[in-house]
Symmetry: C2
Subunit: 311 residues, 2 copies
Amino acid sequence: MKSVAVALHGGAGTLRRGFLPKAEEEKYILTLSEARDTAFYIVESGGSALDAVIECVKILEDSPLFNAGKGSVFTANGTHEMDASIMEGKSRNAGAVSMVTGIRNPVQLARDVMEKSGHVILAGEGAMEFARSQGYEFLPPSYFYNELRYNQWQKARESDVVQLDHSINPEGKFGTVGAVALDLNGNLAAATSTGGMTNKKFGRIGDSPIIGAGTYANNNTCAVSCTGSGEYFIRGVVAYDVSAAMEFGGLSLAEASELVINKRLIKIEGDGGLVAVDANGNVSLPFNTEGMYRAYRTSSESKVAIYEDWI
Amino acid sequence: MKSVAVALHGGAGTLRRGFLPKAEEEKYILTLSEARDTAFYIVESGGSALDAVIECVKILEDSPLFNAGKGSVFTANGTHEMDASIMEGKSRNAGAVSMVTGIRNPVQLARDVMEKSGHVILAGEGAMEFARSQGYEFLPPSYFYNELRYNQWQKARESDVVQLDHSINPEGKFGTVGAVALDLNGNLAAATSTGGMTNKKFGRIGDSPIIGAGTYANNNTCAVSCTGSGEYFIRGVVAYDVSAAMEFGGLSLAEASELVINKRLIKIEGDGGLVAVDANGNVSLPFNTEGMYRAYRTSSESKVAIYEDWI
């Protein structure tokens, strides 16, 4: 029997037990589970891994809980600048958008870049122009407004600090989102979406829209989506590094992803985690932070977690 | 005796002998040789690989011959949008800028991003704001004006074609630029700079500012700078792929870079080339196109070429 599998994350960081009120924890668990099961039903019923990761990430983007889509943090200018990327393992086609505003589902725009633009990465005003040409609706800033994010921004402004989405955050709200999937045809796909860093300046681009850093998929090896301190994931070429360790080094998915997150990333002082799936339906969700919003489902198991232990 | 080495490129493409008038060829050979020797003298006299690749790329950016800095092509809006990146092999620190205008030496700005911004990639207006904060002078469009580039743009507009910098180009003027170097301390560095594609739209970002795709350096393996059809270099994570094939696969620099350009890149239908140097001072300059503007110098050899054969 052919296996299918999905795994997803909603960000990694200093997530200690007791950090979130119980009722808040429940909301995260529910949304992560819903996104997981939506993706799983798609691949289980013969849908594509690409559709599965898109629908999964859309649910996370539409939730105010995560730092992507609706829940995106405020930039230094008080705007919401979002990045997203997607890659499919069969063709190794890829698409990404960076610094887009007013788009409900940046991950869908990344897919349209992949399928319709002839390019891989479109950014800023140009990416918005492409979205317009594809008939995208532009949402007003009020759609992205969130009191908690606003207060985070005000606090960051006062201290003139650029808050990484994974940095200490008393409200416990942060998190790039991402998903990986294997479908019945043996195709892998990965997608990542983020609202970046609170109070970010200077058009900073993190790893989320960078193929090889934040997102990678190759049917011969694995599909990977990352979350964490973006600059280090770029320098470590983290998503592709898992694939390279498997392909050139002969490591298993679990060995390769553990090596990359818990040895190689730590060596350059990066923190965060990733979710990955291989062509046999194995999943791996390592992180070197205290916690990571995450979930996975395979033919035999279905799990969700925030802190170290699985629920 | 410790060895030093430098290698550089000025773009790859359909460069056939007879394509350029002899006098034009001479200009390319002279500028490539000057950039090569400038970089070599820096590392030979104890300077850093980082300084060597910066000074080398600056010479190419300041020349109207190459598609970077002064010689950058026109976008669809009639502007000049430039990308550049840099990485040093010891710390694996990296910096990049994308979609900047009016900057004489984008490669220097990429270095300042690496050393002073706390980020890796800055793009668009934000990157310009960072440049302003660093005291950069903004040059008027006239600095970048070039009759040949203007005519290329008009021709592209008429046919509504986005010209890749490597595509067939009767004027024989194209070429992302880049350099790699090894210094006396065993440190490697790589840098890449480009003016993108003639008539490009939608804020397209190619591989040049992407660490792992267009540029990579790691003292344990190699330093790499790429040129070619950017979208394929991103999907193939080409610059880092050479390093991964060496580190995980145990290949030599020559084996790894040949594998990546002449097998793996071709498999996804990408065309272009790269220049690379390893920690022992070996250089490799493979390309799968008809030609590549290129040069290298080691303790024992000094070469320059445009077409298949070395001069």
